[in-house]
Subunit: 214 residues, 4 copies
DNA sequence: TATGAATGAGTGTTCATTCAT
DNA sequence: GATGAATGAACACTCATTCAT
């Protein structure tokens, strides 16, 4: 401090090899999710990632390609959550469904997923191929898994007839709605929605509605 | 004349005699809905409204205030659709619900509503007070109406017990999901969803699930 | 000056209708000629033209299109000089040529032409279609005019045989060389070249070399 | 193996054992000559030289110093061509000149010289001291040699009077013009110029124009 | 010596907003 | 009221240069 005026500490140049791209993607995700694509400044992404703007361009050719990388990254990260919830097809359908919706209510709403879903909805028009990625990698597998679960349960006589894919939407729709409801209205209104109660009641209702009449 | 997809080049001839603000809002809505707030250029709005950029500022102080005006405008226009579907509380619940969901499936998906819903979801983070407007003016009344319908039906013994507001979400969730599904994936994937079938099957399921056990 | 700190006089916004594009082109020419295309900053062009950077984009889509406009502008401006020197085909060839080269020596070296020629040479590789414009609009007409002058003089028996186009280069080459010599070496070396003496002596030499032997 | 036009992608295999600077200069020359100084990226130079960008800085402090090295390098390489054509002062002037211009027409136009001349012209404004190097090392010696050849021939009575330096320009000017003409217009227009014919006819014309009247 | 990741100043371009006409 | 030329702040992207390894 007794040095002359310019004694600003030079921020030490970080080394390579760290997971730079990963850090950048993380930073970008956080900002894209809050501001949307267009309103996110690369300088902010850089700052959040602890690098300088130019550095981004070593890893991503373009703002858009960074955005794509972010979405791609989501697949990997989130497909796991889905898979773990979905592939426990053991036990009777009623039990599996109860567990699954309860888990969604507990974990999903605390995760970044709601914000991500909102972002994908927001940008799907500007990046059409993004929505196909999202569809192919996340939505279709998830819906597919549930559809086949339902079909199996129907085959076992646990559930009555009906298009299993539409049944899947009857099941998931309220959960999606609840998640978006929280995401959109949580901070700006006093309107509170208890996602776990919703999961519980909806599970009961839908199971009763779908069950075999015999 | 349904506006969707790429029908954006249509420069509508000067419409009403002197509703400049209305024309501008209409033009702005069309563009905001497709591109989102940030990616919409005022010059495009002006062109579409058949005026010059500077003219916009005679009616709206700011891009943001134009956006707010657009959202405010939505209420008036679209609450009607909702209201007509919702306020026919006459007849047994099963019948009212059947009619209502069928109507949503038929009319809503052809209207601008899906795109608007998407837009509101997209921008809710950047315009928090906007989502409260949306909540207070559209969502809460609609959900409230349905909630009280359900409560009445419960009182009449048509439906079994359960939080009527959560029941409302069980009912509406799959419709919302279906609408968003179409909106987001329609153009970029081959995945098709028949909203009317969904409405039919979901009505049956949910009525059975909710009905009084005697 | 007794006002508060921010009493910086706002530079008055200039009106439209002036020859804005013309002023911009003029400013751009001056800078392109000195720095070349790449090293010229649009901010400098704007400043020199008395406008702000953004204003340039009302008239020119792109830096490159501004550059093209500059070159296009040159054609118009300079074709006149050429035409006036060239279309005086009256009188015997010896006299016409003497006058023409003398005029080139006097006027051209004082004009912007040497710098422009240098610029065109410099950028011809980066903007290939630019050199065709330059060729078609300036060089070919000029060389063509001189070629037909020579052919006429040959037909009249004033000049001996020989390809008139090559003769034209024998005539013009030293003038071009002299002009470039001055342009390139004038400021950085003490080496001086008297263009008028060159014109005089070269005229004599070349006339003697080309004249009919009869 | 003449380098011209688009033959730039050729990544020449590692050449001499340890002439890194030489390889870099060679690569830089090739690119400067085509793109000019400003538009040439050091990363491209590095790639072409088979090294990495950082390595350049081991040999050259700065882009500019690399450019200077390139120009300096030119002298050595190309003065030879000129010297061999010029220093055969044996025999009568007519014969020497005939041979010299023919040789220029044949060899020079196939060499890198035209492109180099273009580059020097192009950058002379941005690098004034460069043009003095070019002047002192290449142009002045060459012109000086020719000037003294002419003076000798005048002393011997082979040529008539006249400033020998201006005569030298009368001789060389059309060759320079022809070379630049090809360099600039060859690829972008169909206009073809036969340099050898020009050399032949110009030689005849100028010799006749300069010869002693007895 | 060589590498290549990181830097950061700089440039072209866009666009909401203003203001003289 | 309407226009559209002009503004200027902001942003994506580039590239010569540096430095830890």
């Amino acid at each position: 401090m007794t040095q002359d005026g310019k004694a600003l500490e030079v921020p030490p140049r970080r080394r390579r090899k760290d997971d730079r791209p990963g850090e950048i993607i993380e930073a970008a995700l956080a900002l894209f999710v809050v501001n949307g694509f267009a309103a996110t400044k690369l300088s902010d992404v850089a700052q959040r990632a602890g690098v300088v703007k130019g550095t981004l361009y070593r890893y991503f050719d373009t703002k858009e390609s960074l955005f794509r990388a972010v979405v791609q990254h989501l697949q990997v990260e989130n497909l796991e959550v889905v898979r773990q919830a979905g592939l426990q097809e053991t036990g009777p359908f009623a039990q599996v469904l109860t567990t699954m919706l309860a888990r969604i209510a507990q974990t999903v709403s605390e995760s970044k997923i709601p914000a991500i879903v909102r972002m994908v909805l927001a940008e799907s028009r500007s990046f059409p191929d993004l929505s196909s990625i999202w569809h192919d990698e996340i939505v279709a597998p998830m819906l597919g898994a549930m559809t086949s679960m339902i079909a199996s349960a129907q085959a076992r006589g646990e559930l009555g007839p009906g298009d299993p894919r539409l049944h899947a939407m009857s099941i998931m729709g309220p959960m999606l709605m609840g998640i978006l409801y929280q995401e959109v209205f949580r901070s700006s209104t006093n309107d509170w929605l208890d996602l776990e109660s919703l999961a519980r009641q909806h599970t009961a209702t839908i199971l009763k509605g779908m069950k075999s009449d015999l």
